[in-house]
Every structure is written in C-alpha cells, then in structure tokens.
Symmetry: C2
Subunit: 667 residues, 2 copies
C-alpha cells in the first residue's frame, strides 16, 4: 500500500519524501520518519483486541448515534432547506462526523494493509471476512461523504450551523462558533483518506480542498485577521498541505498559529488563556487554558515549526511540553484539572478530586508528543504517549467499545450511576461510562486514534528502525537507501515484559534496530540471539533508547526484557493534592483501588476514606493483570490483601468507588 504522493510538495519544504505512507503526520524533515499502517500491523494483544472492537462495535455505535441525534441529517437539511429550524446538535456537531470519517478511513487502511499482508496466507475465510468488512466500511464512507459534499456551498463554505437563511452569518462567532475547528477535522479526515486510499473518487479530498481554499482566501494575508476559538484548523491545514503538496495551506496554518496571543478573541470569564489567545505560542511557558485546544494548537504549531524550520518556535514548544509534563500532567498522562473550563490548572494543581483529564486531551496530547518525537527523536515523548495510551485513551471506552468516559477522574468518591444506554449524557457526569454525550467528541476521537494506532509504534531513520511502543506486530519498511527491513514483534506486553524482535528477512548490510526502554524500566536487559537460538550478546539497557546494529539474518532475534514487577510510586512533593499517597504501577499501567474488590475481605465494611496502603509490603503481581497490596483500616486496624485493577479496566463491574492515589499508612 505504499503510494506515490499525488503531487510534489511545496517549494517551502524541498526535502519531500518521494513516497507517502498511511500516516497521520508526515513531516518533510525531522529526526525520525513515521512508519504508516502500510508498514506496521498490530497482530495481537490488547491493542489488536481494541482495534477489532473499535473497527466493528465502536464504529457501528458512532454511526448509530450520529444518525439518531440528527448530526448526519443536518447535511441533508442543508440541501433540502430548513436548517435554521430543523438543525440538531451543538455548534460543533459537524466535527464529530468528520472525526468519524477519519476513523473509518484509517480503519479501511488498516484492513487493506491486513488484507495485503494476508494475501500470501492460506486462510481465505479471514480474507473474505475482511473483504466484506472493507466493502461495508467503504460503502458507509462514500455515502457519508456524498451527504457532506452535497451540503458544501459553491464557494467551498461548509458548516451546518452558520451562513444559511435564518442562521447567523458565517464567521460571526469565532469565539464559540467552531466553524474553523470543524473544518480542521474535515481536513484530517481528508488526509486519512488520501493516505489510505489514494486516488479514491469519493470526492472528500475535493471537498476539503475547496474548503481549505476558502479558508485561505478569507483568513489569509489581507483577509480577516482572526483565529478560531477552538484550535484544530492549524493542525488540519498543515497536514492537508503536506498531503496535497499545497504550500498555501501550510502558510495559512502558520498565520493562524502566529495570530494566537494577539487578543483577537473576546475576553471571557476564564481569560483568553482558555483559547490560547493570551500569549504568542512562541512566548508561552507551558500549555494552559482548555487542554484539548492547547494540545491541538501545539501540535499544529509544531507542524508549522518543522516545515518552516522555525527553531525558535520548536524550542518554545519543547519547553512548554517539558513543563506541562512535569507540572500539569496526571500520573495517568491525563491533562486538565478543571471541570469549569476543561482547562489545565497552574503548576502542581493536580487534584484527584474532580480530575478532569478529558479523553480528548489525551488524544491531543499524543498528537503533540508524536510530532515532537518525530522532530527530535527524544524518547521521553514516546514515554508520555505510552502512559497516555494505556491510562487515558484506553480508559475511556468500555470493553465492548460502546460506552465512554468523557472525563477520567482519578478518585470516585460516590459510586457512579449506570448510564442509560439509550440516553445522551452530560459530558462529565459522575456515572459509569455513557454511550453518547451532548458534546460527543470522545467516541470518534478514540476511534480515529485506535484505528490509526499502528502508525504510532515505529519510526525509521537512515540507519534503521526505532520501536517506540510494544505490541505483537509485523513491521515491513524500506529505508531511505532502498534497503528492505522486515521483522516481527513477539510479546505479551504489558502482561509480560519480554519483547522479542525477530528478523523476517536477510539484510544485505547492517541496519540498526532501536528499542525504547521506558523511564520506569530500570534494570532492563537486552540480548541478541542468532537464528540458531544461540545468545550472542547480552547487556543491561538503561532507560532511553538501546540499539543493536547488525546484518540481520532471517530468524535473528533481539530480546528486550523489561522489569515488570509492580511498584509503588510517590508523587512529586510539590503536588499538594496527593501528598502522603502512593500509586501502584506495573509496566506502563497505572492501577486503581476499586471498592468492588473489597467485597470479600476483612475491609468489606470499611469506609473507603479510611483505607491506607502499607508501603513496606511490596505489591504482588497476581499474574492475571491484577496487583495485590496490603491495606489497613486506620480506624479499626483491620487489614487485608486487596487486588487492584489496571485503571483503564475500572468501572467495568458495576457502580463502585475508586482511587488511584492511595494514602500510605500513617497518613
């Protein structure tokens, strides 16, 4: 599924890659080149399970609700007339349709890659199933695009909320109207399509192009010097520019990025920091304000910085990432402390109570971190991506993929009520996961992330391939000098810490395999085995990147052994809200104490607020994904060994109270 770029990229970025892969982000330059869905396929484990559920149940679920809530029908109303009276949904509902389309596009790409990979295999049943799924998704995709395309106005304008008779005029409410935000998601959907089905004749790319042209005409030099109240158009335009080789779009992204901080948006109760209009991107110290907006903007700004070789802007963004990760990020990777404005707090303001940790902020944070990783190769970005994937993005959907957390609290004091599977929920209601929300960005946002997840696992540079995230997978790519590299990753990670990388072909010359050793994996070891099974080398691997360079022969194995013993982690002493508490981690997973697990213990009658964990008794791995700790009741002195579950698996067994940070004995 390697494809040729539709047109040569812009003169502003001459180092364009000759080949375009199925990736969400394709910088023209940078330390690392991302490998796409056409190069990396997840074949098993937790992420393959999630991708399967996502590609079937979740996409069906989203389409059902988009239909039921009338968000798709809004496009038909635009054609038939009657939008002013009949339109349903919030002002940003169009964007959910585009995120959904993007998810479908990636899923089509994923299934095609799997099909291509399986083409040589014997099982034709799986192949037939995959073909049927593909045909179904492709049909849906085209039908949805057709409805959208019909609603686009002749000059390219596309939005069901503004601009038609009886509606407010176009661009009349940049603070809250979300018109450019919606288009940003349209552009990302078009990028997914152009990179997974190049040359497809469904028309989405044309729709996006016409809309992007209008944006450039309207908001370009000499036009409206404004920005959108919700960043997203920047990152959408930048990537559409890359995907279509259109420098105007990148330039428009640059203009929007540079216009932040000029106060062109109205001041509001929470201040202009809410929409990052309080300070220039290159002058800010940390991400601030609405955490999804902040990360989307930072991601788009990084695209601009890379394509314009703006070292000052890159450095500012790296500095902001550093401070945000250290001081404004929950142990889960979650970001955003405030319910009121869905915003970051000040440094160290990270209460578990009412932690907002919006699912979409997790998605956006991965977008930002991934762009930094590609630019500078710093493994710390991959560390945060892993933490966020396991503990925010995977936490949102339930096992069935049809109910979601909008916000991901770290402390549930009162058991949440089961959400009615047939009712739209308020976004951050303290319930169990809910099927759909008034503001329903998390279902399609997780869906597009899971469908494209393989594109966040590995990268390449001139010397070889870097593995950042571990999952059973197959990687096949071609290095810049034309050498083909292919290997399989065999692992039960994160259940096991053993990651085996087995070469699938004989290399003509040495290439370098690099493996990320997560920051928590102190004491990791690396070994190299020849195809005959003989251990040739073995050495300790410190956190960071560890590399093996050799002329790999088919069957050669590199084995990384990550220490997976569960561990207590203490908070930074500057975080007030969890002083005196410990969290249990095992590998990349954060664990949670859930009241349902006290039921058959001596603590069954204890008040959850009185439980204390004994830090002197090491947490024990049960082997089935749970971790046992010793808890005592500070009032009664009753004690029991209690199993914790991975945080992402909490609230799957009915109403319960829960805490991630547990006070230590004496606290």
């Amino acid at each position: 599924m390697t494809m040729t770029t539709p047109s040569s990229f812009a003169s502003t970025s001459p180092a364009v890659a000759a080949t375009v892969h199925a990736v969400p982000v394709a910088p023209s330059t940078g330390a690392l080149r991302p490998l796409g869905l056409d190069e990396v396929r997840i074949t098993g484990g937790i992420w393959a399970d999630r991708q399967r559920v996502n590609g079937t149940a979740t996409l069906d679920h989203i389409e059902h609700w988009l239909d039921r809530e009338g968000w798709l029908a809004n496009y038909d109303l635009a054609v038939a007339g009657g939008l002013a009276e009949g339109r349903r949904g919030r002002e940003f509902s169009d964007s959910e349709v585009y995120k959904y389309l993007e998810a479908v596009a990636w899923e089509i790409g994923r299934l095609r890659a799997a099909g291509a990979d399986a083409a040589g295999a014997t099982s034709s049943t799986g192949e037939a199933d995959a073909a049927a799924s593909l045909a179904r998704l492709e049909g849906r995709f085209r039908a949805t695009v057709a409805r959208i395309a019909a609603a686009q106005e002749p000059d390219g304008y596309l939005n069901t909320r503004f601009g038609r008779p009886g509606q407010e005029p176009r661009w009349s409410d940049l603070e809250w109207g979300h018109e450019l935000y919606c288009l940003g998601h349209l552009f990302q959907a078009a990028v997914a399509r152009v990179r997974t089905a190049p040359g497809a004749d469904d028309g989405l790319v044309g729709v996006a192009r016409r809309a992007a042209d209008l944006v450039c005409e309207t908001f370009g030099e000499g036009g409206l010097e404004r920005i959108c109240g919700h960043a997203e158009v920047e990152v959408g335009l930048a990537e559409l520019g890359r995907a279509l080789g259109e420098p105007r779009y990148l330039e428009q992204a640059r203009l929007f990025v540079e216009r932040h901080g000029r106060g062109t948006l109205r001041d509001i109760e929470w201040g202009r920091a809410y929409y990052q209009d309080d300070a220039a991107v290159r002058e800010a110290d940390a991400l601030r304000g609405h955490s999804v907006r902040a990360n989307y903007l930072a991601a788009g700004a990084m695209d601009v910085a890379v394509e314009t070789a703006d070292a000052d802007l890159s450095a500012a963004l790296e500095r902001q990432w550093d401070r945000t990760r250290e001081r404004r990020t929950y142990v889960t990777g979650g970001q955003g402390s405030h319910h009121q404005d869905e915003a970051f707090g000040e440094d160290w303001e990270l209460p578990s109570d009412r932690a907002y940790s919006e699912t979409c902020a997790g998605v956006a944070s991965v977008m930002f971190s991934w762009r930094l990783l590609l630019a500078n190769g710093d493994v710390r970005h991959a560390d945060l991506i892993e933490r966020t994937l396991f503990n925010v993005i995977e936490t949102s959907p339930d096992a069935a993929g049809t109910a979601f957390y909008y916000a991901n609290t770290l402390h549930q004091r009162v058991p949440g009520a089961p959400a009615d599977p047939d009712v739209v929920s308020p976004r951050a209601h303290s319930s169990l996961r809910a099927p759909w929300f008034d503001v329903s960005c998390c279902p399609p946002n997780t869906a597009r992330t899971f469908a494209s997840l393989a594109a966040y696992l590995a990268t390449a540079d001139d010397a070889g391939v870097q593995l950042h995230q571990y999952a059973p997978s197959i990687v096949r790519t071609v290095l810049a000098d034309g050498r083909e590299v292919s290997f399989e990753v065999l692992t039960e990670y994160p259940r096991s810490g053993t990651v085996r990388v087995r070469a699938l072909s004989d290399a003509a010359s040495p290439w370098r395999l690099s493996l990320r050793v997560p920051s928590w994996a102190v004491g990791a070891r690396l070994s190299v085995r020849s195809a005959s099974g003989e251990i040739e080398q073995q050495w300790p691997a410190a956190p960071g990147m560890v590399s093996v360079e050799r002329r790999f022969a088919a069957g050669d194995e590199v084995e990384l052994e990550l220490p997976m013993a569960p561990r207590f982690v203490a908070p930074d002493p500057r975080v007030d809200a969890v002083r005196g508490c410990l969290v249990v981690e095992r590998g990349p997973e954060v664990y949670a104490l859930e009241s349902v697990d006290l039921a058959d213990t001596a603590l069954a009658a204890s008040d959850f607020a009185d439980l204390r964990v004994d830090p002197d008794i090491a947490p024990i791995d049960t082997g089935d994904g749970r971790v046992v700790v010793r808890l005592t009741d500070r009032r009664t002195d009753a004690a029991a060994d209690v199993a914790l579950v991975p945080y992402h698996a909490w609230a799957e067994r009915g109403p319960s109270t829960m805490r991630v940070w547990v006070p230590a004995v004496g606290g």
Copy 2:
C-alpha cells in the same frame, strides 16, 4: 427602639412575642430569643471598624455601581418603557438592589440605636454626625424605594427582566429566571425596614406585601406547583410572614420547601441537586449542590419547621448541618468546592486548590446556623458562625470596603493581578479583590450582614442572656418576666482572649449570664468579680456554654479568659487534599502564609511549593496580630522564621501567592 408588632401574628404560631425587635429572624418559639440591634450595640474593635467602613464606604460604593451598571435605572425603564431593549445586568440584578436596600435599612437601624444610646451622652458633635448620616441614608432609601414601587405592576408583579412587552413571560424560566429569588430578597429588605423603622411611610412594606400576595395566588394550592431555581423566596416569605403577622406567607414558604425534590425543575448537566430539586428537604443527608442555594433553602426550611412545629424537618436539617460541617466545610468555615457549579463536593472533597468558598455561601451558612442555634441552643452553631464571620465574610472585603472576593480560595499559586477599580470582574477570577462583578451578590450580601451584625451576638431565654460572639458592646434587654438586664462587654478579642462582662445595673433578682467557650478554647477560665474588684469565684470553663447566675449588681464583672496561644491544627485524615499539612489558628482566626512575608528572609528565593513548616517549633504570637512559624525549604534546607497573617487580611499588600494549609516538614 423597641416596637410593637404591626399586627398580631398568625394563629399557626400562638406563642408570638408581644414585642418585635430589630432582628433579621424572629422565630415565634425556640430555645433562644435573638437580641436585636435595639438591644445590642457593637462599640469597638474589629467589627465596629468594619461596621463603620461598611456604613459609609461600602454602601456608597454599592450605590455607585448599581447606578453605573444601570441596575437601578432598570426600574425607571420599566416605567418609561424600553426595558426589552434597554435593560442592563443579569437576570438577578434586581436582587442586588434589594440586598442593598436591606443593608441600608439595617444601617439606619444601627445608627438609630447608637443615637438612642448616645442621647444621654454629652458629645453633641457625634450626635449631629450620626443624625446627618441617618438623614442621608433615609433619603437614599426612600428614593430607591420610590423607583422600585413605581415599577411594580398593578397586580403586584415586580421584576425588570420578565413580563413586559418584548420580554419573556412571567415565570417562564423558573430554572434560571430568578424572579422568586429576587422577591425573596425584596421580602428580607422589607423585614429589615419594618423592624428598624416600624410605621415608616416609604411604601416598601406595601410593595413587598403586594408581591407576596401575588406569589401566594400564583404558586399557592391549586396554582403553579413549581419552585424557583434559586432558593431564597422561602426564607424571605417566612420572615415576612413573621414580621407582618401573615400566616399565608409562611404557608407559601412551607409549600415551596416541600416542593423541593419533586423534580419540577428541568434536569441539567450538574443534576437537579444543583438547585436542591433532587431530594425532599426532609430526606436529604447533607447540603448539596449550589452552596448558596442550599443554605438559603435550609434556612427557610428551618423557619418553616419552627413555625409549624415540624420536628421531623428540624431533625433532618440538624442532621444535614452536622454532616455538612464535618465533611463539606473548609477550615475557614467556607463552603462549596466547585467552581463549575458553585457547589458542595462530596464528603471530604475539600481541595484548597480552587476552593470556591463563595462569600455568599458564608453569609447563607450563617443564616442557616443562626436559625438552628435559636431553635436548639446548641453552641456548635455559634462556633461555626464565628469561624465563618472571621474567615469568610470578613475576608471578602478589603480594608477600605470597596473591593471584594467573590470566591475565597485557600491556595493562591500564582499572584493575582490587581483588579482595575473601574472595571467589572468575572466572579471568581484569580485577581486581588475586585470592585464589582458581573454577578455582584457579595458586596451587598456582606453589607447587609455587617450592618445587622449586632443581632447575631446575643440571645436571651427565660433565665438570662447568652453571649455567643465577643466584641466590645453594650447589651440592654428585658427578659420575658419583665426584668431589665444591661451590661457592657469589654474586650480586645480576638487580639486578646480576655472578655469582661460588666453589669450596668443592679438586678432585682438573680439572672443567668451564659458565655460561649469556643470548641478550640481548651483551658479557658471563668472568674467573677464584685464591683469592688474582689475575685469571688474562679473556675475552669470547658468548651460549650458556661454560666454565672447571680443577682448582678452594677459593676459586677464576669471575666472569661480564652487561651489565645496560636496553635497548629491537623486536617481530618479523610480530607485528601491537605494530607500532611497543618494550618495555624489563633483564637477564631485562621492564618495564611503569604509570599510577601518571605521577602526579607532566607527563603526569599525559595519556590513557594517547596516550603515546609516545622511542627516541632510552636507558632509564636507576635502581639500585633501575626504569628511566626519556622519554615524550611525542602530543597535547600534554608530555614527562616516567617510571620503569617490572618487569612482575612491577606492580599492587602499587592500580588502574592498564599496558602492556608502548609505542608509539614517531611511531606
């Protein structure tokens, strides 16, 4: 200024007092009878200072802003036409006018009482000044009432936001319209007027009566079975009923109270708990939802419970008060943890970060506690009132009385920006105190509280007088059996813990003087001195009430010695957010560490987040209202003795960071 009740009270409450005093609350029955402004006068100290500033600068300030923002002019527009286009202010702006009127009425009462008291004195200058102030206030009051009265519709309806041509219809938005809420404040203003200027011909009482009659007709039995989204009309109607002897108003208050919890208000994102429509008042376990609404409702419900002898309802409210005080109240007495919905959190959810602790919730909490105290005589209610007065209500205004905190955070991580004295602020903006708010309830709410403060100091029962709050003051009252009691309170409390009560007249028979020993005052002592100065008795006084019963002779003194050494207080171990921290208290005052006080110490360069307090070195009273503690920097080990200021005095010296709870060494 003792006055005869305008008409005999209702048949539902036969035990009506023959005399009506200048009190905000006059239950017909209960353990304690409140003493009014005509019986208690504050003569010096912190509260006299505050009352003086309040009666001049603050009232001027409020009138200026009501005028400037057009909230007063709305009434003129109602008469002239053009409200639909020209009306200014939020939907509840009328209520600020009524709170202001109430404050002016109490201030008039306060000045009259002082005048009456000073009538026998020699200084005629002070008298002339007071007379001038009184005349000015009376003029303002009448002028404002005239504008309001002119806007009342013939059937009694009164609101500038609804019901006129071009406006939404009356009662069409009970969730958010605040019409009944505004009237509740009108009723409280009328109560203040009727009790401080009985028989005044300004017309306010008539306006209130006509509006209350309309409320009863509209929402009575057989009428609209709805409630207001913001409780207040209940407490307003109940007291208006008491003040005018009109049982219909009390009955209507009862109906509104009983209708809470029937879900007649629309469900919203935060749930119906927001407006206490989730559960019946008599069935709830704790105050919940919006903290001002919750306390106003509880106060009104207590009035209903008392007047209808509803023991079940009283018991439910006491239970709710208990749990709320223990689990949902900040160390300052502040209530409300959430910014988003200005609401209580769950039990133990009391983060200092973003503590909301709305000023008006403090006012409302005092209203609720005071009614419980009158009903059951439990000194714990007076304890909470004191804590809230010193650490919430007194914190809101600055020393000059012209800038206010809307919310009272317990932790300021980034120095607030000075508020422009000429600009309306968002309500909970992290600034220094601000002159006025879009939602500007705190200035007039504190003003009415300070003006009537003397009415919260003392009560009487058949046996004698109870002193609940200590301030230099003079108390003159008549017990139920006709005995006159008068005494003076001499104290520098809270600078000093010595409270001397000196009898001003010879009693014909023994009466009982009871003094509250606050819960923190372990080790207090009481002594009795005859007029000759001889100590007759001396004994330890445990927290609670301590009493002396004797035939007091003029000059006899009872002296209460409260231990005022500053103390460290540890949080309840179930409050997660401040685990490992200590707070410094001295007497009723909570102290705060403010960064400006580090300037000349070895910790000047320290990060505020790194400071730790040494719990082994006792805090030292400086004698000037400050308390010194030993702080160390956990990174550098630098140490210094640093002065803390009373929390209510923080942010008076420019931008600074601040914390009330300070981590202890080792945390």
